[in-house]
């Protein structure tokens, strides 16, 4: 029994590690996903209780302050944050996680010297430096991503001459300072400089990232935040931290690879390519014919259709149109029209963004189909309805080698019998590329706010009932 009490925190950590792995395993299927989340919660609770009871913890007052503050910040964000703001919240939570890692690393570093000096080993210092480098650059990087997603900062890429060279120089300088501290741990004056340099690098790294690249960047920041937690585990001889951090790092890595593949681009291209700059010269306004339709016409065509595929994009999130889309889905389903949703992996501002919004509108998840599965259905489909998506349906990606998105896998909306695209104006989309889909003969443009247009189409269908 005494053996059990002595090793209580180790046992809780072991339990937590097992539950975290089970949590991710159960998350793979929507039917067991909530159980997965519960497993994660229990694991976390076990680890926290184990730590609080553990013999390292003598004072409780500041822990309590931190826990209360954390709950006051975290809970309201989870309860009242609208689902359209999930990308922002995610960026913010990456910032919080990274901040915690950087601060813990900093506190540990200074504890090596005050009040009881006990110089760290070189290996400890290496991991501590990696922890705070990753932590502080992810902190500021995620705050920048938050600013862009929340429209506090311009979402267009911000570029200037020599940008990549400057970024690289700052990162190199940060690493050199870190190396110096590894060799001479007593140079405490150098430590704040490392934090500052890494934080500056985080800001500069996100400046040239455009909104369309946010899914990749958020996933990458997720990975960094996990890795810095893992490094903390190396410093602290804590295997639970290593495992949990590695799981988070792996998840972020997989998601960013998925996102990069879905755009046919490499990591370096996403990070340093400044995709989506305004290209002033690009095909200066060639006059082409566009067919514009009314909601009544759209309703008539859809009513006569057998199958409709809806292609949602970021525009649906901006217009908060998901609930109106659900009304349209109900009206069409009632008439026996087969309605499906085609989800491009990079639609929206974070991985899985569209799925969450449509699920919020109570559209059954078996109607949400991935790109590779649904692309074969477009040739037999009567209507492809594009709601606020743009580049992911641009046929130029298939054949136009001069197009910046050439080679990117797209949803073959153009192969449908009729294409309807809801758009505010004819302005090019996020990547600044003109979309030839809108000039195709089988395409009908529905101009206006996505929410308003869908609502009036749904109303037409209700009235003709």
């Amino acid at each position: 029994m005494s053996l059990f009490i002595e090793n209580f925190s180790t046992i809780t950590y072991l339990l937590a590690a097992a539950l975290f792995i089970l949590a991710l395993k159960w998350l793979s299927n929507p039917a067991t996903a909530r159980r997965g989340n519960l497993a994660g919660e229990i694991g976390m609770l076990a680890a926290i209780v184990g730590t609080l009871i553990g013999h390292h913890v003598i004072r409780y007052e500041w822990i309590l302050v931190g826990l209360v503050l954390g709950s006051l910040i975290g809970a309201p964000m989870a309860i009242w944050m609208p689902m359209t703001a999930v990308p922002q919240r995610t960026a913010l939570s990456h910032a919080c996680g990274a901040l915690a890692a950087a601060l813990v690393g900093t506190a540990h570093y200074y504890l090596f010297f005050k009040p009881i000096p006990h110089p760290p080993t070189t290996v400890t210092m290496i991991f501590l430096c990696l922890e705070i480098l990753l932590g502080s650059l992810t902190f500021t990087g995620s705050l920048m991503a938050f600013g862009k997603l929340q429209d506090l900062l311009p979402t267009r890429p911000m570029v200037y001459r020599g940008q990549n060279i400057l970024n690289f120089a700052i990162l190199t300088l940060a690493v050199l300072c870190a190396a110096a501290v590894v060799i001479q741990p007593a140079w405490t004056w150098l430590f704040p400089l490392i934090l500052l340099l890494a934080a500056t690098f985080g800001v500069l790294l996100i400046l040239p990232i455009g909104g369309a690249d946010m899914p990749t960047v958020i996933a990458l920041l997720n990975s960094y935040a996990g890795l810095s937690a893992s490094m903390m585990g190396f410093v602290l001889d804590n295997r639970l931290l290593i495992i949990a951090g590695a799981l988070d790092g792996a998840s972020g890595l997989i998601l960013s690879i998925v996102m990069c593949k879905a755009m046919n681009r490499s990591f370096t291209n996403v990070l340093f390519g400044a995709f989506g700059q305004v290209r002033a010269s690009a095909g200066a306004a060639e006059k082409k014919n566009v067919r514009s339709g009314s909601p009544e016409e759209a309703a008539q065509i859809m009513e006569a259709a057998q199958s409709v595929i809806v292609i949602p994009g970021y525009g649906m999130a901006v217009a908060q149109a998901q609930h109106k889309v659900r009304e349209l889905y109900d009206q069409l389903s009632k008439r026996g029209v087969d309605v499906k949703f085609a989800i491009h992996p990079v639609a929206g501002r974070m991985p899985g963004h569209m799925n969450v919004l449509l699920a919020e509108a109570e559209i059954p998840y078996d109607r949400l189909i991935e790109m590779d599965e649904i692309n074969g259905d477009f040739p037999q489909c009567d209507v492809a309805l594009v709601v606020g998506a743009n580049d992911v349906v641009n046929p130029a990606a298939r054949h136009d080698q001069s197009s910046p998105i050439f080679g990117m896998p797209i949803l073959d909306a153009d192969k449908a019998r009729t294409v309807m695209a809801i758009k505010r104006t004819m302005n090019p989309g996020f990547a600044g590329i003109e979309n030839e889909l809108y000039f195709a003969e089988n395409c009908m443009m529905l101009f206006g706010d996505a929410k308003a247009v869908i609502a009036s189409v749904a109303r037409e269908l209700t009235e003709s009932n």
Binding site: S28, A75, F234, L241
Partner: protein, 111 residues
């Protein structure tokens, strides 16, 4: 002391490697449908760094500095915000994912 005194670093690498590969295998199977909840759940899980922050805050007075306590408290708050917020919003999202016919079935139960 809460810091590692013996340098058993090679075993950490093995733990890291195994966890990373296991993570890659498990997470590869997560349906793209759930990629957003996946991200919020892994984010909540990696906020396990709260245990390190708790240990810093909980150090005996003679063994710690004001700086370490201040940084530790902020770190506990930041990590715990992720834990509370992360698990809650993940559950909120997962509750929304329903298969076809699920809403009718639950409506019947309510009647």
């Amino acid at each position: 002391m809460i810091l590692a005194e013996t340098s058993d670093f090679s075993s950490y690498f093995f733990v890291f490697l195994l966890a990373a590969f296991l993570g890659l295998e498990v997470i590869k199977r997560v349906s793209p449908l759930l990629h957003t909840p996946l991200m919020s759940l892994t984010n909540a899980i990696s906020a396990i760094s709260v245990v390190a922050a708790i240990e810093i805050c909980g150090l005996e007075k003679g063994q710690t500095s004001v700086l370490a306590t201040v940084l530790g408290t902020i770190a506990v708050a930041a990590a715990f915000a992720n834990i509370v917020g992360g698990f809650m919003i993940t559950d909120r999202m997962l509750r929304m994912f329903k298969p076809r016919g699920a809403d009718k079935a639950s409506a019947k139960v309510q009647k």
